[in-house]
């Protein structure tokens, strides 16, 4: 060795660096935190690190609220990939693309790493002690009702702790805001079925008639519904399920429908009543209510041919049970509640309630159930802010500066709050407006519990646990921060909990018996819980209490064409970008939109006929102007949209959020008019009217689809057959 001129030190260097390539990451021994990569041999590796062998930990996906259980593959102390946990009744081992990208949330290079005190556009790095002291100082100068807390849909112990904290401050101002939550449908369901979110059995239905519910894409619990859908397609006794989708802009679910019906925007309820009328099975006040909705009128108002209405009615009559879903497209109007009510009524008329619509179960700990809310909450916060009511505002898991409709002028009102604290993973638009930004652990480094809104086969509490050591030394878990803050007020009560982990463990062990751990000793129960990642509970089965009634059901006649703003703007909700909080995950940016195959940019979907009328071709940069503002984006000619509507996808158009999100696309939230559902007061997302004009600029649309468009040019590539040509019963 020495003879060959390679001395010992060089030799070690070679070996060491060879190992370093894999050992370099944060398993505690390396100091990624201070930017140095120390060469550490495996002799010092942590116990659980077996070089070359992956270990798996169960946790919960935090990319959306559906509560899919995940199973993270960890090697050499680094989490590499997330798979679904097969034990979960929600996702049964599967995930969606959004869930897959969870690791890019964790490893994102644009994460906030230190507590930041913001002075204008400048950041000052401060210590946590100073940050906590600052909060205490600001709170001491504010009365309880001068403090507001804005959060996304939190659940589990975090929600409890948050409640306790607000209680300790004496504030009742917890605003829960999820921009895309199905708030109107929840209210309509509550009326019709007695529960906000019943259990839908798509797999048991022979026909699913969906009014704009994108259950395969971004609606409620898409991974779960996708599995039900697969069973539904296989069908019972080879009788394949039929999906009919009624909507003005084709969603992913619409693209999978046997029949996609483009309906005039906002007339979904009228069509539902028309179908009830065509069924002819209703009686009492329902029959009276639908009497006027004969096929001629319905066809005229909705644009759906009369024959089509009859066909749907005939099929629904023939194949039972069926399932009718009211989704976000139906609820997004000023009469959204009425639309949803009409659609739910159809379900009731068809006798699906109790068969394919069942009572949902809930966890026996109501304080842990997810907090829900949408624009009503935001509006009330916004009004408070405008009135200068709040001295301290906390913001967690919401980005209202990005998602609030432009007409609300949220950003301007936010500036009136005295002291704004943002708990953030990234410097998003809202965090940039904050005075204090507190960096959070990623979902893969943090402890927590989560209770999904939509559950099947009993109830479950999902466990979130770290899949690896913290990537950055100075980030904290939200639970830890809340615990520290609540200790400022109620030190005595919480002194036994060193950290949120201890709190969580303590809280879980306290209810060990109720959580199915009776008899087991504490450690066994706790370890088993963590190993499984799910606590399954019998749950309390609710009952459906609503009754079929058409009382109070009034649907407006479609309004006459607006000359100034002739088109309806349908903000598109895509499965991967949703409300835009994950736009900084490059896999999602480069994952083509399933329908247009566009990547990295926003687009304006416009029907080819309308486009021809307006002399717009693909790649024209068009200006979409509403009463509240205007955005520019590239035009994409899309056949799956009603000619009287255009659609711009949500989620892009960030002005912050890091290198992968900033500057890509346009943000249609900005131009949404402040039109609200008349009953619930929630934002009517689809009620914005716009005009489209060419700017004269052109770009090449960056998309995966080739020059042939979606044509197969006579090649046998993706083949379509009709049910009468195949025999599904023989299939393996």
């Amino acid at each position: 060795m020495i003879d060959s001129g390679l001395d010992r030190r060089d030799f070690l260097k070679v070996l060491g660096w060879g190992g370093a390539a894999v050992a370099l990451s944060g398993c505690g021994n390396t100091s990624v935190e201070d930017g140095k990569e120390t060469v550490v041999s495996y002799v010092e590796a942590a116990d659980y690190v077996i070089p070359g062998i992956g270990v798996y930990y169960n946790s919960t996906c935090a990319q959306c609220d559906a509560g899919c259980s995940i199973n993270g593959r960890v090697r050499e102390g680094r989490v590499l990939k997330l798979e679904g946990n097969p034990a979960s009744a929600i996702n049964r081992g599967r995930t969606c693309g959004l869930g897959q990208a969870g690791v890019q949330h964790h490893y994102n290079p644009d994460r906030v790493r230190e507590p930041l005190l913001r002075h204008g556009d400048k950041n000052e790095v401060i210590t946590w002690d100073k940050a906590y002291a600052l909060i205490a100082e600001k709170l001491s100068g504010a009365k309880g009702d001068e403090v507001a807390f804005l959060s996304g849909g939190v659940s589990g112990h975090l929600k409890v702790l948050l409640g306790n904290y607000l209680d300790s401050i004496g504030s009742k101002n917890h605003f829960v805001y999820e921009a895309l939550a199905p708030a109107v449908v929840r209210a309509a369901n509550k009326k019709a079925y007695g529960v906000e979110m019943p259990r839908y059995n798509i797999n048991k239905a022979k026909v699913v008639l969906s009014f704009g519910a994108d259950f395969l894409g971004a609606w409620v619990s898409p991974v779960h519904f996708s599995q039900q859908y697969a069973q539904f397609r296989k069908g019972v006794d080879g009788q394949r399920g039929v999906l009919i989708q009624v909507e003005s802009k084709m969603t992913l679910t619409g693209a999978n429908a046997d029949r996609w019906i483009p309906v005039r925007p906002g007339t979904e309820g009228i069509l539902a009543l028309g179908i009830i009328n065509a069924l002819g099975t209703a009686s009492g006040d329902i029959a009276a209510a639908v009497k006027g909705y004969d096929r001629a009128r319905v066809s005229k108002e909705t644009g759906v041919p009369p024959g089509q209405i009859d066909k749907i009615a005939a099929l629904l009559k023939l194949r039972s049970p069926s399932l009718v879903l009211a989704g976000s497209a139906a609820e997004g109007y000023a009469h959204g509640s009425q639309n949803a009510a009409a659609i739910n009524l159809l379900n009731q008329v068809l006798g699906n309630v109790g068969k394919t619509v069942e009572a949902s179960t809930s966890v026996p700990f109501p304080q842990m159930a997810p907090a829900k809310g949408n624009t009503v909450a935001l509006k009330s916060l916004n009004d408070g802010l405008a009135a200068g009511k709040y001295k301290v505002l906390f913001c967690y898991a919401a980005n209202p500066v990005f998602t609030a409709p432009g007409a609300m002028k949220f950003k301007d009102h936010l500036a009136k709050a005295g002291f704004k604290v943002a708990f953030a993973h990234y410097l998003d638009e809202t965090a940039l407006q904050a005075d204090l930004v507190l960096p959070l652990d990623s979902a893969l480094e943090d402890w927590g519990t989560q209770v999904p809104e939509y559950m099947t086969e009993g109830a479950q509490i999902n466990i979130q646990q770290p899949l690896m050591e913290k990537l950055h030394a100075n980030t904290r878990g939200m639970g830890d921060i809340l615990l520290a803050l609540v200790k400022q007020r109620r030190a005595e009560e919480y002194k036994s909990f060193d950290d949120y982990y201890a709190y969580l463990r303590g809280a879980m062990l306290l209810n060990k018996n109720a959580l199915g751990g009776s008899g087991a000793d504490d450690d066994t129960f706790w370890n088993e819980t963590l190993t499984k990642g799910i606590v399954k509970l019998a749950g309390s089965a609710g009952t459906l209490s609503g009754k079929a009634s058409a009382a109070g059901l009034t649907l407006p006649v479609p309004s006459a064409a607006d000359v100034q703003y002739p088109l309806q703007l349908i903000p598109g909700v895509t499965a991967s970008l949703r409300d835009g909080r994950h736009a900084n995950q490059p896999w999602l940016q480069e994952s083509p939109d399933p329908l247009t195959t566009i990547v990295w940019d926003s687009w304006v979907e416009i029907h080819p006929k309308k486009a021809a009328e307006l002399h717009i071709t693909e790649g024209d940069i068009v200006e979409v102007t509403s009463r509240s503002g205007s955005i520019r984006a590239q035009a994409y000619l899309f056949p799956g949209i009603h000619p009287d509507a255009i659609s711009v996808p949500l989620g892009r158009g960030h002005e912050a959020l890091g290198r992968y999100a900033k500057g890509y696309g346009a943000n249609p939230f900005q131009i949404l008019d402040a039109v609200f559902d008349q009953e619930t007061g929630e934002l009517a997302m689809h009620e914005t009217r716009v005009k489209v004009s060419k700017t004269g600029q052109r770009v090449v649309v960056v998309k995966d689809e080739g020059a042939a468009g979606g044509k197969q040019m006579g090649r046998k590539i993706a083949v379509l057959v009709t049910t009468d040509e195949v025999d599904l019963s023989k299939e393996a």
């Binding site: 080739g706 042939a708 044509k711 090649r715």
Partner: protein, 482 residues
Amino acid sequence: MEKDTNESAAWTKRENESPIPKHERRASEKDIRESIAWAKINQDVLKSMETPRKLYWVILFFAFAAFSVGVGCEVYQYQNGMGVSNKNNPHAWGLYISTFIFWIGMSHSGTLLSAILHLMHADWRKPIFRFAEALTTFSLMTAGLFVMVHLGRLWQFYYSVPYPDERGLWPNFQSPLLWDAMAIFTYLSSSILFLYIGMIPDLAICRDHLHEGWRKNLYTWLSLGWEGTDRQWRNFRVTYLTIACFLIPLAVSVHSIVAADFAMSQQPGWHVTSFPAYFVAGALYSGCSAIITLFIILRYVFKFEEYMTLPILKKTVRLTFAIAMIWTYLNAVEFASVWYSHDQASKDVLIQKVIGPFAPFWWGMIFCGSVVPLTLAFKRFQTNIPVLFVVSLLLNLGMWLERWMIVAPTFSHGYYPWTWDHDQWPGFVQWGMVFASFGWFTMLFMGFCKVFPSVSMYEVKEMVYHRKLHLKKSETAEQGAH
């Protein structure tokens, strides 16, 4: 237009001033004047190798500058990856491969003139085969560069040639690209050998005319002690003939193999049986037109009117015309076979060549390759130097377009419609490389002209001698008849 007339007038003037005595001007029917003294031949040819004029250096500089552009492009591409050339999926190939075929094709001229016509005893080839042979060698060297430039991992190019390897790894002998590499290498080495061996007697003349300097050493070394003895001449003849015989099948195979790169694949528009013949015809075609171009340039620059005579040009032009028609026919065969194949994918490729986004280039190819050569059928154009110059350049433009039209449309319009891409336009790196290849070729060729005799002195003498002999014979016969 006016300028053309002027130029044409200038040419005519020069023709009038030509050293050919007026009474032999009828000569137009004669390939060469029988009365040229052998010493004059030496003198004229050696004169072309003297210290170049200023213009030479200027042109050489521009050629070098053009080449440097390519070097710059290659360095950039090497550093950053092939992506900078604006290739993509599905456009995996581009101008590199089409220009590669172009240069390979051009190389066939030399073999045609020096080997095929040699065997056919067409002695009019003698004054012009040397530079044609140089054209062969240098265009092959240019083509070889494109193979290298094309590779994504240039530094590993040797993986695709069989070489001694302790792991016993072999390249893939099924791959036409491997055949290509071997065929081109063989062809290049044989061509260099052929060029060199054919030059030995001339190199000896060069040696004998010099007394000192590096050239003397070079020629002494290269002429291998040639003294013109009877035994040397006999050995020389046999060797030359042997290599000529060896070279002909090689030349045909080289371009057949280049055709096989396409024909052996499974892609629509490429999978055509007639491709080898089509490619060889195309190769001879572009080679001949390149010869016409260089013929005109050399004749003008070196005042070789005595050797590169109009009758020889006429013969070359007629040959070119014949090949042009063969090429046109084979083109039609290709279209017809595609059309009758009932293969929709192949038809689609053809249709989009004709009326799709490639139409301007495709019709350009048809115009330059099949319509322009029709002018060559007219006698008065067959010796009209300005017209021929322009025509020969157009023919080669057409042939370059042909290669591009073979490569690109199949990529942009292959079997799989999802990946169709009609907007692909080669990036500046690709164009830079194409541009540079002409600079590189010019550099090599200009260097050759000043270091080696671009007209074969001994063969011209031979030709003159034969003509003289023939003349004498016919005179004797005439006398005998009296």
